[in-house]
């Protein structure tokens, strides 16, 4: 049980100019931009290197070669987004891409190389040019370790294993954050003139997800609760190829290197769905193709298809896809040199996130968002592989610069408001941990995440989505009566997981409501009952806000630009 001493109750609050929540690539990159000018600190629920960015495999896009251009990259991105991306933001993303990649190379990232020593690039789904730079199939690992090294070099202050419990709003501005120190169980207040949410995606709202177990979208839910809308939440990317069983990602790079998708009849089926691009069609198309094969009875055990690499040969697999081979051996007991890999689609990326502009500004002054937690939007209805690592580094820098501008004129925040909020959170945690009889955390989480898999997945329809919303309501009520069981104050991971579930309930409802209201099919959002895109009504971003009656959806315009809205064909 949580009982706080007098000393803890009167704890002095921490104070920084800017506080960044999240130590993945985007949070680190913002901090690096700020470090030389301001007192900045990073607050993170896991040590930086354990952030989900580490898991990215395939690569990062940039038009580096002379016969490629940022315009071509921008076109691929906008088309891939099914025209829902904001084109002004995409321009920054693609124009700044070479700089972001080169910067990381100069910091020491060990990119794979061409025979002449240039940064190697591979083809990736939905791209008209092989522009995905990679470091074997461990690109995120290499970028994150390198970027963390630079943060260390600059002596950036980290609050490791601090779980952000709320954002603090004073009237019409942000004034700080409250956070639970996992090692002690104490709740601290942090005042800051600017707060940057860089908490990553929320894949764990789904039971089958390629994401790290910690990807619960905390920052998005906290923003929602201080009145900041979430944008385009219904757009959830399902990766076509996740390992059957553990849902670990099998990178698109495996298809980029020449892997084939085979159904249970042993037939290469992508020709039917995307005759030109075949296995390298964009993710939503490949995911739907696999689901269709399975639903029409051509899956193995009625569940999955095969990704066959055997024809690539041992040397190529060992050289280009060593991480994939390791994953198959350790998590499925299969060696892709000898046997095909059993794969099926699983949740992979959250296109939606905190509503913000191309500089990370949210509707609340002083609150910024960046990375997968943000929705600027550069991915629109469907993200292209290799564009999200890019987003973290490009916009980490851009948002950092905007925070510096903001700090120039921002006044000091009120300590009292932050202190009061910390007090409120302490009371809330005490209540949560005091109950001895009630609902089980594990059962509530399973119920929520399986409903999202079953009813708001690759193929959607109004009936299913309504079923999901019903389950979400039940889970919300169940959560009020949650009993965590006998508890310690220190390292209370059950409490952490309960707070994560509380966040996921709001996000699940935002996703499902957005999906119900969007009566069209666009990018990753596929409504069986509305199979066509409807630009007249829905060439719009959806905005989810939290009201006393639950999540409400409204719409706002997309920033169009140089690329004309067309049908998306591959």
């Amino acid at each position: 049980m949580y009982i706080y001493s007098e000393e803890e109750k009167n704890r002095v609050i921490y104070d920084h100019d800017a506080l960044i929540i999240g130590a993945g690539l985007s949070g680190l990159r913002v901090a690096i931009e700020l470090a030389q000018k301001h007192d900045v600190a990073i607050l993170t629920k896991v040590q930086a290197l354990r952030s989900h960015s580490v898991a990215a495999q395939g690569g990062i896009n940039a038009a580096l070669r002379e016969d490629d251009s940022w315009e071509m990259h921008a076109f691929d991105t906008v088309k891939g987004s099914d025209y829902l991306a904001d084109q002004d933001a995409v321009e920054i993303l693609t124009q700044e891409a070479p700089r972001a990649v080169i910067e990381n190379e100069l910091w020491g990232t060990a990119f794979s190389r061409t025979p002449t020593g240039n940064i190697a690039q591979r083809p990736f789904g939905g791209a008209g040019y092989p522009r995905t730079c990679y470091a074997a199939d461990r690109t995120g690992h290499n970028l994150l370790h390198t970027t963390f090294e630079q943060a260390m070099r600059l002596g950036i202050k980290f609050y490791d294993e601090f779980f952000a419990t709320s954002l603090v709003r004073d009237d019409n501005r942000i004034v700080g954050v409250t956070a639970l120190e996992i090692s002690s169980g104490a709740v601290h207040g942090f005042t800051a003139k600017a707060v940057v949410v860089a908490t990553g995606g929320f894949g764990r709202v789904y039971a089958r997800s390629t994401n790290a177990l910690i990807n619960t979208g905390d920052g998005c839910a906290l923003a929602l609760r201080v009145g900041v809308p979430l944008k385009d939440m219904e757009f959830v990317q399902f990766h076509p190829t996740t390992l059957y069983g553990s849902s670990i990602l099998i990178t698109e790079g495996a298809r980029g290197e020449g892997g084939h998708l085979l159904n249970a009849k042993g037939k290469r089926f992508m020709g039917k769905y995307a005759p030109d691009k075949m296995e390298l069609a964009p993710r939503d198309i490949v995911a739907r193709a696999i689901r269709t094969e399975v639903l029409e009875g051509r899956g193995f055990e009625g569940r999955y298809v095969h990704l066959d690499l055997t024809h690539l040969g041992k040397d190529r697999i060992m050289e280009r896809l060593p991480g994939i081979r390791e994953i198959c051996v350790h998590f499925a007991g299969i060696d892709p040199i000898d046997e095909p890999i059993p794969v099926l689609p699983g949740q992979h990326y959250s296109m939606g996130g905190i509503d913000c502009d191309k500089y990370g500004n949210t509707t609340l002054p002083g609150l910024f968002a960046v990375g997968e937690a943000a929705c600027m939007s550069v991915h629109g209805a469907n993200r292209l592989g290799g564009n999200s690592l890019l987003e973290t580094l490009v916009f980490g820098r851009v948002v950092g610069q905007k925070v510096i501008e903001y700090l120039g004129s921002a006044k000091s925040p009120s300590k009292q408001v932050v202190d009061d909020e910390a007090y409120r959170i302490r009371e809330k945690l005490q209540t949560m941990t005091i109950k001895e009889q009630g609902e089980s955390l594990h059962e509530l989480r399973t119920k929520l995440t399986e409903a999202m898999d079953d009813y708001v997945g690759v193929f959607r329809n109004a009936n299913d989505i309504k079923k999901a919303l019903k389950v979400i309501r039940e889970v919300r009520i169940g959560f009020e009566n949650l009993a965590l069981g006998e508890m310690d104050q220190r390292f209370n991971y059950s409490l952490i997981r309960a707070l994560e579930l509380e966040n996921m309930i709001d996000l699940a409802e935002s996703i499902a409501q957005g999906a119900l209201m969007r009566k069209e099919s666009r990018g990753a959002h596929w409504r069986v009952d509305y199979p066509n895109r409807n630009d007249e009504k829905f060439l719009k971003h959806s905005l989810a806000t939290l009201t006393p009656e639950g999540i409400k959806i409204s719409y706002k315009d997309v920033n169009l630009g140089r690329f004309e809205v067309k049908e998306r064909m591959y």
Binding site: F331, R490, N492
Partner: protein, 242 residues
């Protein structure tokens, strides 16, 4: 399968072991088993996790007296695998009552202070990265540097390190000598020294050869056997010593 799990509510030392019956399925990992305990039997059990895919380095622990990543260790395969490490006390002192045949023994990673249950204090491990200044000095340039595939190959295995500290926990020198910076930091220093792009390779070699670094290594090579990522720090340290 039974899990015998080391407990330490206040940290410092293992106070007792709890026995749990795990409902195992084919393909289940030790980490899955620990979640089963936390979810259904004992919500107070503390352990670290993040990626569940052997890339984030959070979940190193001692499993049947061998340092391993919990998320990459199959429950059904534990009893058939052996790293054959050179023994030192944490790898040999078995708790009374442990039935090796039927129970999987789970303990915190050795050589780092216990904070709670399976959670250890990694401060020392991280601090050595800072002490040795294991980063590149950034260059101002508009162009990336060239590096041939062969030059990259020289550093490939070292850049794969996920900082899980398994090498640190498997090393008898780290057990005996609090000062020793440990294999991972030295392998990383070697990575920078050997990188064809580094402008000041000497600095990394010098840092690694300080008295609390490479000279303390006895070339036991437990790190090479235990590392889950094939980094082989021992090979790097051997070269650093020359």
């Amino acid at each position: 399968m039974l899990f015998r799990v080391a407990r330490s509510r206040e940290g410092g030392k293992i106070t007792h072991y709890d026995l749990y019956k795990i409902q195992e399925k084919k393909g289940m990992t030790i980490l899955d088993g620990l979640f089963q305990i936390q979810d259904r039997m004992d919500p107070s059990l503390a352990f670290r996790y993040s990626c569940r895919g052997a890339v984030c380095g959070s979940c190193a622990m001692l499993i049947d007296k061998e340092p391993r990543l919990a998320c990459r260790t199959q429950i059904l395969a534990v009893k058939d695998e052996a790293l054959k490490l050179k023994p030192f006390p944490p790898l040999t002192d078995a708790p009374p009552g442990w039935d090796k045949k039927t129970e999987i023994l789970i303990e915190p990673l050795p050589n780092l202070p216990i904070l709670k249950d399976l959670v250890v204090d990694m401060t020392k491990f991280y601090k050595s990265l800072e002490d040795l200044k294991l980063w590149m000095e950034p260059l101002e340039s508009k162009h990336p540097r060239l590096q041939s595939p062969d030059e990259r190959e020289v550093i490939r295995r070292y850049v794969n390190c996920i900082m899980c500290a398994i090498c640190y926990g498997s090393c008898p020198v780290n057990f005996e000598n609090e000062e020793y910076v440990g294999p991972a930091a030295l392998a990383k220093a070697f990575r920078f020294e050997q990188d064809s792009r580094t402008t000041d390779p000497e600095r990394y070699g010098e840092a690694a050869r300080k008295s609390n670094g490479a000279p303390l290594c006895d070339l036991v090579m437990n790190c090479v056997k235990a590392c889950p990522k094939g980094v082989a720090p021992g090979g790097a340290i051997r070269k650093l010593k020359q």
